[in-house]
């Protein structure tokens, strides 16, 4: 990352504060991108399993749906923390 920004700095002749800003922007991008991977997989798994159990037992669909939303909410928290870090760093 640093090498990248140094290359960028040489190419565009940026000052030190610009360099810092660019570092922050790149870091923010990585922060959000990486933070979204795990929750993405997790939410997919939660919803997939929920649909499977709803298909197996349609009569318990209401309970499964509620629990699914809870699971999504817990899983999603990680991605949202990544988003907050993204805002703190990047904008």
């Amino acid at each position: 990352m640093e090498a990248l920004s140094r290359v960028l700095a040489q190419a565009t002749e940026l000052t030190a504060s610009d360099l810092k800003k660019n570092n922050a922007a790149i870091g923010a991008g990585f922060a959000y991108g990486l933070a979204a991977i795990g929750p993405g997989v997790g939410i997919g798994y939660v919803v997939g399993k929920a649909i499977e159990s709803m298909a197996r037992q349609p009569e318990s669909a209401g309970m499964v749906r509620t629990t699914m939303f809870l699971g999504i909410a817990f899983t999603e928290a990680l991605a949202l923390i990544g988003f907050v870090v993204f805002i703190l760093l990047g904008l």
Binding site: M63, T66, F69, A77, L80
Partner: protein, 253 residues
């Protein structure tokens, strides 16, 4: 080369004060409380013996939704006394989320940290209060030393339980709501700016302006999506509150 510059975030989410110390978040919060009070006031005035319709129907649907979907699912029969609090929470959050898609207002008040933070602090106080009221110091014991764990594992489990129950919970509750609404708002801002920029671009590329339909379509889609997100986040905040209160009340499960 075409460059769209995004405004600094404080310009997107902070608005000028209407008067000193009163800004759009204050307006939306006060409006939400006012609308909620008005709806329930009108609903309470109507004759309860005829079949409910209009405002009363809305209010009763809300009450039944909270009772059947949240209280009965999370706390149980003895938690029906929490219905008014949870109903207030749900209605307030939903009415604060909804301005995110209403023209002119166009901003969810919950996308500022203030609202989710104080609400999660209130929830934190309530569920700990319920725990201490029902179990005394046994609440600490049951939440910090969960039964069925080998003695040596308490070295590891107790700090984790402490952090997750007393520190992470309120923050995750607040940040979930805040970040969801803020992310939705940023998406809407991004596509609105993109549509604007494409439509009014001074360019010689004749294909650019007709292509504005794409971000506009995305904007419409995201707006409808935000309706769902606003409802879902209000529901999740409320049901998690119910879950926490239920866990404090019946720590066995």
């Amino acid at each position: 080369m075409f460059a769209l510059e995004f405004p600094p975030i404080n310009e997107v989410i902070r608005w000028k004060d209407v008067f000193s110390s009163f800004n759009k978040v204050g307006i939306i919060a006060c409006l939400a409380a006012l609308i909620g009070v008005t709806v329930f006031l009108i609903a309470g005035r109507k004759d309860p013996m005829v079949a409910p319709k209009g405002v009363r129907n809305v209010a009763e649907t809300g009450v039944e939704f909270i009772e059947n979907q949240i209280v009965m699912q999370t706390i149980g029969e003895d938690g029906l006394g929490w219905t008014p609090f949870l109903l207030t929470l749900f209605v307030f959050i939903y009415l604060c989320n909804l301005p995110g898609i209403i023209p002119i207002l166009q901003f969810p008040a919950t996308a500022r940290m203030a609202l989710p933070l104080f609400m999660s602090v209130i929830v934190w106080l309530i569920y700990n209060g319920v725990g201490f009221k029902h179990h005394g110091l046994g609440y600490l014991k049951s939440s910090l030393f969960p039964p069925g764990v080998p003695k040596a594992m308490y070295l590891l489990v107790t700090p984790i339980e402490f952090i997750s129950t007393f520190i992470v919970r309120p923050f995750s509750l607040a940040i979930r709501l805040f970040a969801n609404m803020l992310a939705g708002h940023m998406l809407l801002v991004t596509f609105a700016l993109l549509s604007n920029a494409m439509l009014f671009a001074e360019t010689k590329q004749y294909m650019l302006k007709p292509m504005t339909i794409l971000p506009v379509f995305m904007l419409v889609f995201l707006t409808t999506f935000e309706v769902l997100v606003g409802f879902l986040q209000a529901f999740i905040f409320t049901i998690l509150t119910g879950v926490y209160i239920g866990q404090a009340k019946h720590p066995a499960h």
